[in-house]
């Protein structure tokens, strides 16, 4: 029996010490009428060799970014992960520990999270970062809850160009609270500054805009900030952390709360999770009272030595219970560590170069692909590493043909945007080579 150490002799000695004659006696309080009087219907067991063969057989049925050429984006990206990230996150002193409530036994995790918080502040130009949330979608919802709590207003406005799954999360959270969620259409692929004012009012708690948005294009975040602030509402910005190597930071364009999916920062794609929810905000006592999740703070110990602890815990569920700012307990600590190691490995120059490579390669790809007759950029606004193409014919069929040619070529947008049923979005990370991009263009030409 793997992982259980008790020998028959141990078992006998332990039962004798307890004063019962069998393990069954220890379950005496489980009433007979609720007992399961059969084995669970679960196959196995498997030795490690069998398990590995079984899993390898199943994984061989998948295609992935490892054995195809991946141009998929939509909130998860095939960025390179330096080996130092895997090596550090693979240290079991980190990954087999739990929440650092015992500060003396957890200084490694605590300092790493403090560094993560510091790195997020530097990255975004914001003042405060929490210790992580689940993912980009739930982080956006937590930002909405924060804004509702801070402003004590009831209306939330979100641009249609925000990731559709994030908007679904917002809708789920909002459906059970006293608030109205309004979605502003973005037919031009971004929120037109001329349309913003009309969507906002004295009841607006916040407006949520993502840039680069779901289509990969950039939003006029300064205009959004000005509009939100002019009605006394908050501006919740959703950003791509890799883009901040070159693009304006949320702090630059006066976001009040900035959130992101942090997967690009050294987290494997692994079919959608675990990822990293980034949440940052302004340094304002009203914000700190409402910020969700854990925070690590610096202090000194009884010898006066600098150290780190979990702090401002009265906001949290284990103390505030029904009055907590959020119900989150377990977060994404190991992914925050990955992000901290990733950003340290890249440094300012590496992040800038990575973001610039993404931009140049994406623009090269757009140029090559739009040379193909019938293929055009759907939107005219600037983009970062992802863009939206109008293609002739049925995109679903086209993408299936491109899969056969070895490409995960893009996302069909009709699933989320019926008016974009003739469009696909294509993401180009720093990992894609000229040969791969030219290959995609050639394959697309062949498939049309």
């Amino acid at each position: 029996m793997p992982y259980i150490l008790n020998t028959p002799d141990d078992e006998k000695a332990m039962l004798a010490a307890i004063g019962v004659s069998s393990i069954e006696d220890l379950f005496a309080k489980v009433p007979p009428e609720v007992r399961l009087n059969r084995l669970l219907n679960i196959p196995g067991p498997m030795a490690e060799m069998e398990l590995q063969a079984h899993v390898l057989r199943l994984l061989a049925k998948n295609q992935s970014a490892a054995n195809t050429i991946c141009f998929l984006g939509g909130g998860a990206y095939d960025h390179f992960i330096p080996s130092v990230v895997d090596v550090i996150a693979g240290r079991s002193e980190y990954y087999t520990a739990y929440t650092p409530y015992q500060a003396e036994a957890s200084q490694g995790t605590l300092q790493a999270i403090f560094e993560y918080q510091s790195l997020m502040c530097v990255l975004t130009g914001m003042d405060v970062a929490n210790a992580s949330l689940y993912d980009g979608g739930s982080a956006t919802a937590e930002a909405m809850l924060m804004a509702l709590g801070i402003t004590k207003r009831s209306e939330v406005v979100v641009a249609e160009s925000v990731h559709p799954e994030y908007r679904q999360v917002l809708a789920t959270y909002a459906a059970n609270l006293n608030c109205q969620l309004r979605t502003v259409p973005t037919p031009e692929g971004f929120l037109n500054p001329n349309d913003i004012r009309a969507c906002l009012s004295e009841a607006t708690a916040c407006i949520i805009v993502q840039s680069p948005n779901f289509f990969g294009h950039l939003e006029d975040m300064e205009a959004v900030a000005a509009a939100a602030h002019s009605v006394g509402g908050l501006f919740v910005a959703s950003f791509d952390p890799i883009s901040l190597g070159i693009l304006q930071r949320p702090g630059d364009y006066r976001a009040d709360i900035a959130v992101a999916e942090g997967q690009g920062l050294g987290v494997p794609l692994q079919f959608g999770g675990p990822y990293l929810g980034i949440l940052t905000c302004r340094d304002d006592p009203r914000f700190l009272r409402k910020i969700p999740g854990r925070l690590v703070g610096e202090t000194v110990d009884r010898h006066g030595q600098r150290c780190w602890v979990l702090t401002l815990q009265p906001r949290e569920q284990h103390i505030a219970r029904a009055n907590a700012t959020s119900n989150i307990c377990t977060n994404q600590g190991l992914l925050a560590l990955r992000a901290a190691v990733y950003l340290t490995a890249l440094g300012p120059q590496g992040l800038k170069e990575t973001a610039e490579l993404c931009t140049r390669k994406a623009h090269y790809a757009a140029e090559q692909l739009t040379r193909i007759p019938g293929v055009s950029l759907r939107f005219r606004t600037p983009f970062f590493k992802e863009f939206t193409l109008r293609v002739p014919g049925d995109p679903i069929n086209l993408l299936a043909k491109l899969r056969s040619a070895g490409f995960l070529a893009g996302l069909p947008l009709g699933r989320w945007y019926p008016h974009l049923a003739d469009c696909i979005s294509i993401a180009v990370t720093e990992q894609r080579t000229q040969a791969e991009i030219d290959g995609l263009a050639a394959a697309l030409r062949d498939c049309l």
Partner: protein
């Protein structure tokens, strides 16, 4: 050995010009300045001031910091309610394989047949273990599972026109996430008292149960490590009122293959895959908090669900009554994948033995600890128990916290402390099935030794760790939540 090399805050040993990772030169023709691709008003004026360190500095920094952690791989970690069992290394190897790690979440189903088969089977396993047939793997952690289930309950009652059901009942011994999730789902919470026996006070429940009750959230075994012997009566009462029963599945390790929540009347439950099925806890996460519900609640689950048609697997988004999403993408699949590997490794008999030995180990430790501390509630316990240090506090001025800190000196992680709230000076201990009798004996012997130590030594512990008794009040007052260069300290706005 305490190696302090490169353990300053990253920014403090940063030196301009140093770097670790290098990216290749641009291989596409792109001679123009960046501002011709993206207009200058969108571009930052400078790069973020990230630290600049070399690779060896980075590795020494995070490696030396890691040695300042206690972890399952280095120490016995009897943290009650957290099920800190051994994390098998085979899972780490398998989860790192590119056939899994490089799967994009928005790939076409036809390219995902292997992972979808794994996730489909995981849905089946979790349904079978709970006795509740419909499963959503989407929630990212236990607390999100609770919230998701409450959303499902709210949608169900809305659908039935029973929107007057505003109340969620929560025992006073429950995890804080229960009332927090209920509030976030828009319900009013009502606290149900525990009796002297540590179980739900049936009289109090009966008084507070009414026609506006939506859900009773019960943890069973409860946070005192006790099985709610009246569980069938409780669930029958709730159902007679038309309300639903939610099981907080944090303590599933005690009952795997022994009894099933669906069989004792729960309508919904969450799992903590990182606890019961040993996804590593990651220093605070990630977790994974799938939920299982009865058939009549299945239409309300978050989409998508994996379905099997013939020998093909598919993500089904066509769920018109679904509550929607609680997060983006499919779920914390990396943790679910490890849980799947664990369940396949153990099989049905193995899972039952997990529960049996978790309960055996807990009762053995309980027997040893009972010779040292009060244990307010009668045994046998399930997978954990709660001792009270109140007599030691009274007689020798040693608190539960002091005991925890002193345990660290003896290389044991502390139990969960001051929880549940119904026991004064609570020490909640969960040894799990993966510990040996020798370890449990050594731990109990250490507790006995601490009890007799000079109280001053215990009150000032730990003495062997890099830090001792951080000033938490100062941390809350100063609010230093990020590193800032020393020269800027005096102008920090939060230090006004």
């Amino acid at each position: 050995m305490n190696n302090t090399q490169s353990t300053e805050v990253l920014f403090e040993f940063s030196k301009p010009g140093r770097r670790c990772h290098r990216v290749p030169a641009c291989d596409v023709p792109s001679p123009q300045p960046l501002s011709e691709l993206i207009p200058a008003n969108f571009l930052a004026k400078s790069s973020p001031a990230l630290p600049e360190v070399g690779e060896i500095d980075l590795i020494r920094h995070f490696t030396n910091l890691s040695t300042r952690n206690m972890s399952i791989d280095t120490n016995f970690y009897p943290l009650g309610s957290c099920t800190m069992k051994y994390n098998p290394k085979r899972h780490e190897r398998l989860a790192s394989l590119p056939g899994f790690a490089a799967l994009h979440p928005l790939q076409d189903d036809s390219t995902l047949q292997g992972i979808l088969e794994i996730l489909y089977e995981m849905q089946q396993f979790l349904a079978e273990i709970s006795g509740l047939p419909a499963v959503s793997l989407q929630p990212a952690a236990g607390a999100q599972g609770e919230l998701t289930a409450l959303y499902v309950a709210a949608a169900y009652f809305r659908d039935k026109g029973e929107t007057h059901r505003r109340k969620v009942l929560v025992p006073d011994s429950a995890h804080g996430t229960n009332p927090a999730s209920a509030a976030l789902a828009g319900f009013d919470t009502v606290t149900i008292k525990s009796g002297l026996d540590g179980l739900v006070d049936l009289h109090d429940l009966k008084t507070k149960l009414s026609d506006d009750t939506a859900v009773f959230m019960i943890t069973n075994p409860n946070t005192l490590g006790l099985f709610e012997t009246q569980i069938k009566t409780i669930t029958d009462w709730l159902h007679a009122k038309g309300a639903l029963v939610y099981l907080d599945g944090a303590n599933m390790n005690a009952i795997l293959g022994i009894t099933r929540p669906g069989d004792f009347g729960a309508d919904m439950q969450h799992y903590n895959v990182h606890k019961t099925f040993t996804g590593p806890h990651g220093g605070g996460g990630p977790g994974s908090g799938p939920i299982a519900v009865r058939d009549f609640l299945a239409p309300y689950l978050p989409a998508p669900i994996v379905v099997k048609e013939g020998d093909q697997y598919r993500l089904n988004y066509d769920m018109p009554k679904s509550i929607g999403r609680v997060r983006s993408f499919f779920g914390n699949v990396g943790i679910l994948f490890r849980g799947y590997c664990y369940i396949r490794t153990l099989g049905a008999e193995g899972l039952k033995r997990v529960a049996q030995h978790a309960v055996l180990n807990a009762n053995y430790l309980r027997t040893r600890v009972a010779q040292i501390f009060d244990i307010p509630h009668p045994g046998p316990c399930m997978h954990e128990f709660v001792a009270s240090a109140r007599s030691l506090l009274r007689e020798r001025k040693i608190s539960a916290k002091d005991i925890c800190k002193r345990l660290l000196d003896y290389s044991f992680h502390a139990p969960t402390v001051y929880f549940p709230l119904v026991v004064p000076e609570a020490l909640m201990m969960e040894p799990t099935e993966t510990e040996s009798k020798e370890t449990l004996d050594a731990f109990a012997n250490t507790l006995a030794r601490i009890q007799d130590e000079d109280p001053e030594i215990v009150r000032t512990a730990p003495h062997t760790h890099i830090v001792s008794r951080p000033d938490e009040v100062k941390a809350a007052k100063d609010q230093k939540l990020r590193w800032k260069p020393p020269t800027a300290t005096s102008s920090l706005s939060h230090e006004r």
